[in-house]
Symmetry: C2
Subunit: 224 residues, 2 copies
């Protein structure tokens, strides 16, 4: 089956490194969905303003893999456990399709680029092609008693972020809380070991944030 992008999403994530592992974890990040010229019709969004969330079906552009790997190593599982690819949301899957539910922040029906949907919490690389947008239907999509498998047992991995004011002020004010959220989600590669001397770099909102981590504490050491 051949599918073609209907839109692209533009976010503060210009680099794969640092993208939250699931949508909604960094709720203050704003993404902008811009339709392809042939779909720039405000009628196509009629009624969407009554919904709070949408589904995006998109492409893992940086993770194509030719060979089928049945199992993957999800982040944050003890002992580098392997899980089946269909039991994970890993990007390394036969069809590189991503699925995210995001909150609608605003809909601008008639901009110079056609209708724009602004969304919160998109865990998606900037420039990613989107293949479908569907409304989130609470009665069909929200299973409050669903069991989350091994993903429920990863524990509290969130980091306490120490971001000196001097560095924080270099980030545009509207991106600051999102930057802290993204750091708190622990953007280190999943194979990282605790090494308080190691300095990592995160590109976010056009800035490079340097930080190191000692157990549950993350220290920002430079921003440029």
């Amino acid at each position: 089956m051949e599918i073609s992008p209907i839109a692209h999403i533009f976010t503060e994530f210009s680099d794969k490194f640092g993208i939250p592992r699931q949508s909604g974890l960094a709720k203050d990040t704003i993404g902008r969905i811009v339709f392809e010229p042939e779909y720039r019709n405000p009628d196509a969004l009629k009624g969407l303003d009554g919904f709070s969330h949408i589904w995006l079906i998109w492409e893992f552009t940086e993770c194509h893999t030719d060979e089928f790997k049945a199992s993957v190593r999800p982040p944050r599982l003890p002992n580098n456990s392997h899980m089946g690819v269909f039991a994970t949301r890993s990007p390394y899957r036969p069809n590189a399709l991503g699925l995210s539910s995001v909150e609608i922040a605003d809909i601008s029906p008639d901009s110079d680029e056609g209708p724009i949907i602004y969304v919160k919490g998109a865990d998606i690389l900037s420039g990613t092609p989107i293949y479908d947008i569907k409304p989130y239907l609470p009665y069909a999509d929200c299973h409050i008693d669903a069991k989350g498998g091994f993903a429920e047992n990863v524990g509290d991995y969130r980091l306490k972020v120490h971001f000196p004011d001097d560095y924080l002020s270099r980030i545009p004010e509207e991106n600051r809380s999102a930057a802290v959220e993204v750091l708190a989600e622990d953007p280190r590669p999943s194979y990282a070991k605790n090494d308080p001397e190691k300095v990592y770099g995160l590109t976010f909102a056009g800035h490079n944030i340097k930080f190191s981590v000692n157990y549950k504490n993350l220290y920002v050491v430079d921003v440029f």
Copy 2:
């Protein structure tokens, strides 16, 4: 982007007519997911047994449309209202991708056809190709305070089903409650007007069920 089926799902729905409008509405219907030969590896499902629900991304095989229609008429809205295609789950969309969350009923890791996932509540035509299977992650996918837009205001359309024992006994016992559920969901085309004389036919579990509807009552009049 070219995508290829990883599996096919086999359900009791051999005909588009009568398929519930969203997944999970007819919870007693069982679907069987059979992987393509190259993905028949039980390792690919490792860890899935800890989850209660999965997402399926699949193809609306009977609804391809060449021309982009920005708006559609969702079923059960008053006055034949039109809504934007991206504000609906209509099959008539630029990329004919369907999205359903279904409950895992059982996983058979090692059958003659490789691993099989049995699921409940699949609103999908039998034989439909599946492009991805992902675990349902409650912390990311369940938004309990989400607003459901116009889809919340369709009212109580469920029908009271009158299914004489004589006819019901012609359906295999394991399919009976599912058949009643599917009928209660009102499988008439959305443009149907109230006409108690009109007889409709539903194909389900290999049987043809004839029925008529008078307002909120559905009467089964034959099964063969």
